[in-house]
């Protein structure tokens, strides 16, 4: 998520930082501060990285660290303060200009080097011992920089390179959401006398990124996809998995809420960055997939799901998600497929 959009924008613009007049400087160095502020103010996200680094500072002593998608340079400075011998922060958006000055202002110029560019175009003197990156997107994989991290791992990591975070897990649960169904879906049935039902249908295809209230959760929370970042390949990120959800109370299941966590287990002292609805919201919130036919579940009943997630063929940053739902309850039987597009 960090700088991914700005990477795309900077790449599209072919922007290169110039040492020119003040006015041009502002235009060229212009990058929206809001996205960086949002991530930095996500206390859980930032302190998870900080604590994973500082509570395992022994791991950083005299090591070479690569920060993929460094943004403002915050993770690079955490690593430098932990005792790294050398830190390379790379970001292809113009925030690299600010990051370079920030590093200088905090007296890390002799340790941290900020490079504006793509990881694929990197040219380093030596292999790196540690790779840190905040690569996670919404739904873990949407607009994620994980592919870039994998490239960095294979191209620049030592054989036993440590990656922070080192693994990722995705979870699903069923939620009830009658208010949103009424306000965002059913509202399209009649708009000033016009039938906009087609918009209601299209609404189901768009997952919603929003905060899920724990009280909305009426099933258990189950893991459905996990991987080790030291070993995973890009092909393995396209996945099909099955999971079952059991109702803990009788209610409608209007949507499936998906969240993730990323353990930092490379050091001896573990830290986990968690985006569950059971903990205070991070800026990732949760990804909510509204299902076409809400399930009417009684306590103890189980629904089976098969979820398939692949990058969109036309734009790999987009995700095509397919869900197969099989439910045979006392009050309802549902057997259908639904496509979602995260874009």
């Amino acid at each position: 998520m960090s700088s991914a959009q700005q990477c795309e924008e900077a790449a599209a613009e072919g922007t290169v930082v110039k040492t020119t007049a003040n006015k041009d400087y502002y235009f060229d160095s212009y990058s929206h501060y809001g996205i960086h502020m949002e991530m930095l103010k996500d206390y859980h996200r930032t302190t998870a990285y900080r604590d994973a680094i500082w509570r395992n500072a022994y791991m950083f002593k005299n090591k070479v660290v690569l920060d993929v998608g460094c943004g403002t340079g915050i993770l690079s400075m955490f690593a430098a303060r932990a005792g790294a011998r050398k830190v390379i922060g790379i970001d292809c958006s113009n925030v690299a200009v600010q990051a370079r000055r920030i590093v200088q202002d905090n007296s890390f110029s002799d340790v941290i080097t900020i490079i504006q560019g793509k990881v694929e175009e990197l040219d380093l003197d030596e292999k790196v011992d540690i790779i840190i990156s905040e690569w996670m997107g919404y739904f873990l994989l949407y607009e994620s920089m994980l592919n870039t991290v994998l490239y960095a791992r294979d191209r620049w990591g030592t054989p036993d390179v440590k990656i922070l975070p080192n693994s990722a897990n995705m979870y699903a649960c069923g939620i009830t959401d009658p208010q949103y169904i009424e306000q965002k879906f059913d509202i399209w049935k009649n708009v000033n006398g016009l039938d906009f039902s087609y918009f209601k249908r299209l609404s189901y295809i768009e997952p919603l990124i929003d905060t899920v209230d724990p009280e909305q959760i009426i099933t258990d929370i189950v893991p459905f996809f996990s991987f080790d970042i030291n070993k995973v390949t890009e092909a393995e990120l396209s996945f099909t998995r099955t999971f079952a959800l059991e109702a803990k109370q009788g209610d409608f299941v209007h949507a499936i809420s998906v969240h993730f966590d990323t353990p930092f287990h490379a050091g001896h002292d573990p830290v986990v960055l968690n985006t569950s609805p059971m903990v205070p919201p991070t800026h990732w919130r949760q990804t909510v997939l509204y299902i076409f036919h809400p399930l009417i579940m009684k306590r103890g009943e189980k629904a089976n799901f098969t979820i398939k997630c692949v990058p969109n063929p036309g734009n790999p940053r987009d995700l095509d998600i397919s869900l197969r739902i099989d439910f045979d309850g006392e009050l309802q039987a549902c057997h259908y497929d639904q496509d979602f597009r995260l874009r």
């Binding site: 212009y30 929206h32 906009f196 299209l202």
Partner: protein, 405 residues
Amino acid sequence: MPAKRDMRTGAPTQRGASRSANACKVVLTESLLATDAEKHPTSKSLYGDSAARISSNISMIHDHQRLRAYEVIFRNVRGKTLLHLGCGMGLYTMLAARGMAKMVIGVDSSAIVDAARVVAEQNGLKNILFIRGRLCDALHQLPADMKFDYVLCEWMGPLLLNERVLTDALYARDHLLTASGALCPNRASLHVVAVSDYPFRLDTEDFWSNVYGFQMEPMKELVRQEVEMCAIPGSNIVSAPCLAHTVHMDTLEGLTAEETATYEAQASQAAASRDNEEENPVEHRWVPTAVAQRGYKAAFTLSITRNATVHYLTFYLDAAFTSKTNPGANFVLAVRPGGENNWTEVSVGLREPLPVNAGEKIQGTLRIHTPADKGGKITVVEVTAKTAGQVAAIETSGTYYYQSY
């Protein structure tokens, strides 16, 4: 006797339960799969095309002020032709078609028009045509020599002239209107108010002084130079609004001869290629019109309503339509600082806060223009403001950048 009673109560219960269970169980097997058309759009095509997200169109349903304003057009559209530039989801376009217009054409770069086309078809509206792209991409699809009685277009950006559809509006005004035709709305104004918001200042600017123990001063400049778009609570507004500048579309300078030639060349090219559906119009590079590049200058005077420190100036946009032929069709989309407005207001952070007393006047100047570089995405706002000196004689100035996509 007891035996009989038992038999009677037992049988109906069993029969009822059985019937109830069978009747309540619903079997659902209809799937919702993406169609081929739906499989085509991707983030690259949605990047900068937020209108293509269904959820972003819901606010239009609730925009009763706009609907009431444009309704007077829909009530007078019978037998007439209407062109809607920037039609989005096509709600107003379809309401015009339902008002028995002779022909209605909706044009928008957003992929949402593809969905609007389906809705129009499902509502049996046959006098309507939706075209995805810019107006110049659509010209060859119009009947030859077609003119419009109405061109509906919100050509005004948050800073008046910084909306990219302005180019299309000017071309339509000068080339596509009937003799008595009207561009609607045809007037827009920018209003300025003084805003006091110390917590927001701390939260966005001073935040960077200490980020987890590190100072990030260079980020403050990004904050200071940004034109911020967000609603301002009424409690933070400390002056009466001042009308700073008005654009009258009836008299606004049109496209230059060169711009017109470029526009028509693009139209010819679009007619020749016929591959418009495969391109993504949103990604076309845009050159602001000469009138937007030149921009405008304005002076403003703000009467302060209470003792306060002014940290921000906020700009509100209004729009109005004055019909030459039908005064009953006039409307104003008015400004209500602190309330719900038809456009989200934008603010600039004063480099130096201005402490002022109730009754004091802040005087200032504006220069707003949209340069051609950066694809017209950046609008430059130059502001000066000074107090009358009742608390302290302070003059501050700053240059700010508004970025649109």
